[in-house]
Amino acid sequence: MAEKKDAFTQNLGKIYGIYTGVFIAFVIALGIAEQMGLQPKYIGWIFMAVTIAVYAAIGIMSRTTKISEYYVAGRRVPAFFNGMATGSDWMSAASFIGMAGTIYTFGYDGLAYVMGWTGGYVLLAVFLAPYLRKFGQYTIPDFLGTRYGGNVARTIGIIAAIIVSFTYLIAQVTGVGIITSRFLGISFNVGVFVGLAGILACSMLGGMRAVTWTQVAQYIILIIAYLVPVTVMSYKTTGVPIPQIMYGQVLQKIDAKEKEIIASPKEQEVRDLWKKRAGDLDAKIKALPASLDEEKKSLEARLAALPADAPSKDREAIQKAIKDLPKTPEEAKEKWTEAKKAAADNAKTPKPYIQPFARIDMKNMLALTFCLMVGTAGLPHILMRYYTVPSVKEARSSVAWSLFFIFLLYFTAPAYAAFARNEVLTNVIGQAVATLPGWVSSWAKVGLVSVKDMNGDGILQFGELLLKPDAIVLATPEIAGLPYVIAGLVAAGGLAAALSTADGLLLTISNALSHDLYYKIINPKASILRRLTISRTLLVITAAIAAYVATYKLTIIVELVAWAFSLAAASFFPALVMGIWSKRANKTGAVAGMIVGLGITLFYMIGSRFFGLNWWGIKTVSSGIFGIPLGFITIWIVSRLTAEPSKDMQEFVESVRYPKGAVKAEGSLE
């Protein structure tokens, strides 16, 4: 047995080693082809097609009909590879595409995400992962169901798992849509369904087993894709290809540049114009609904006044403006309020990049960091991964590997942000607006970049270039004028990040429904074949619903993802931790705690987002700061007021606490 296992493990290293080598060779070959005249359009297509084909191939090769393979990859995934798989499971479109952009925009305060999304692994390591592995079942609601008995705790677990995972899933699918539509030139909706096919190919036939091995492959691509452009930029700017160390110098350069921008009269003029625009919009909002009619009339008057020989471009522009006008006063209010807010933001004097608490105050930054940490340790699709390692010992070291692989990207993200900011400040600002490079218009099409020559001087001021945070990682290779192959590589990395996370989430949702709801509650006598069939069907249905919702491009999705952390933090974390760390915690306490934690968090989220609720100035995104402690306290108090758990249950809790006697790896080694 041991010998066979070693052979299997060694082979894994070899297989993925060769895979990495081939991928690098493939990128270099494309780079050479580009120099010889291969068009960027084809580079994008080749990258997408080849990587998705590789994932699908791994997914199909890993197909299985065994339950333990399907749910927990046979519990044979070595700590190191589970760490990689967890890394890509964890690092979503938000980490890959969004994080550097958030730091670019928020400066020091954006580091809440960097610390929060890594520090959570310390909680995971000491509070949960080894104990869940010892428990050794299939899903997180499984643990709640067994520990607290009956179906109530399990059902709340199922509901929470679905709410948390589904919002997160939509965001991944949206990420896939953005990347494919930008780099393949297809429409967003088609892109979403292309991505969907890629996700299903990986997860449907092989469940957790297939997802694990594709996630390892996806990790390798995403980390290469993230490190290459920033290393090249570091080399270009500082002469040393170690961005993580060299960006200390760049921060100083940024600081100097920003001082110039703050003092520049031209920039001040632009800021004043934004201020005026914010004021105009405010007046228009106050004058609704009359102002909407006026707006329409004035546009129509302009259209009528156009001379017959006016260029068709002008005519079309006005026609489009009329078409884009809000349909109802309510819609107008929403749109204009948003525009007013954006204009008011642009009117502000920029604050120095590394100045702490310039954009988020200290209280909120700490609260956000805390919610993200606890949320990380409460996300079911991550917790589930620690069922797949062969032993408790490996579960412990696997958390260390997970964080190490995540760390490689996260400690690079602030460097990425700094180099991107330096590039924009040094080489983009001050150019002539009329001759800006091609990336401006291609990213403007997807709505991530916009340029407005506010003061009409023909020169691009800092206040006139609007970069959405999501544009930073994807667009920087083009902004910095790197070969297009690097932009294509980054896109492939972003796609890998979004697909891998989507797979993990999809599996969590379909397992919660097929295993916990159907098999454990509705029909415990179901055959293995039936369970697998139901699970696969649910995968397809869930994915299709997620894709369908994503096509609506609801702006609220980005917010919802951040909310998912607070929800996971307040619902799962207290019940799971108390289940292991307190023998006294019982069913009534856990159920009450989960309801209170989830309820208070949701109450504050909705109240503060839509109805102006405000407790101590805490922002909506950190709502979990109330739910987490209240969840713990409720479990503790209610458990103490009600009967203590049975002796058997207390012995079960004890048995979870030490490794001896854990379930072994299952199944044959193929």
């Binding site: 580091l111 890594t118 310390v122 590394i354 412990r396 606490r657």
Partner: protein, 86 residues
């Protein structure tokens, strides 16, 4: 079956290691963020220290903390004879 006292001592030692781990976790993340302005007066490889802690320092400590926790726990398992059977 493993004796009760032994298990209790094992759990105590685990709790102690957990508490130390969490204390360090708290200091390098929240502690450093609260002290950020003071730390920014110190410079480390070209970075203001406060910024550095948020961007890299705390992360490095997290990785080391978990690796150390795994190593120590495996040792404690053996000490109390509760490690997994091969």
């Amino acid at each position: 079956m493993i004796e009760k006292e032994k298990l209790e001592a094992y759990w105590k030692e685990n709790q102690k290691l957990t508490a130390i781990t969490l204390a360090i976790w708290f200091i390098v993340s929240f502690g450093a963020a609260i002290m950020v302005n003071a730390l920014n007066n110190i410079s480390i490889i070209g970075f203001p220290l406060g910024y550095y802690m948020g961007a890299q320092g705390s992360l490095i400590v997290f990785v080391l903390l978990i690796a150390n926790y795994a190593k120590k726990m495996n040792r404690i398992d053996k000490k109390y004879g509760v490690e997994e059977e091969e």
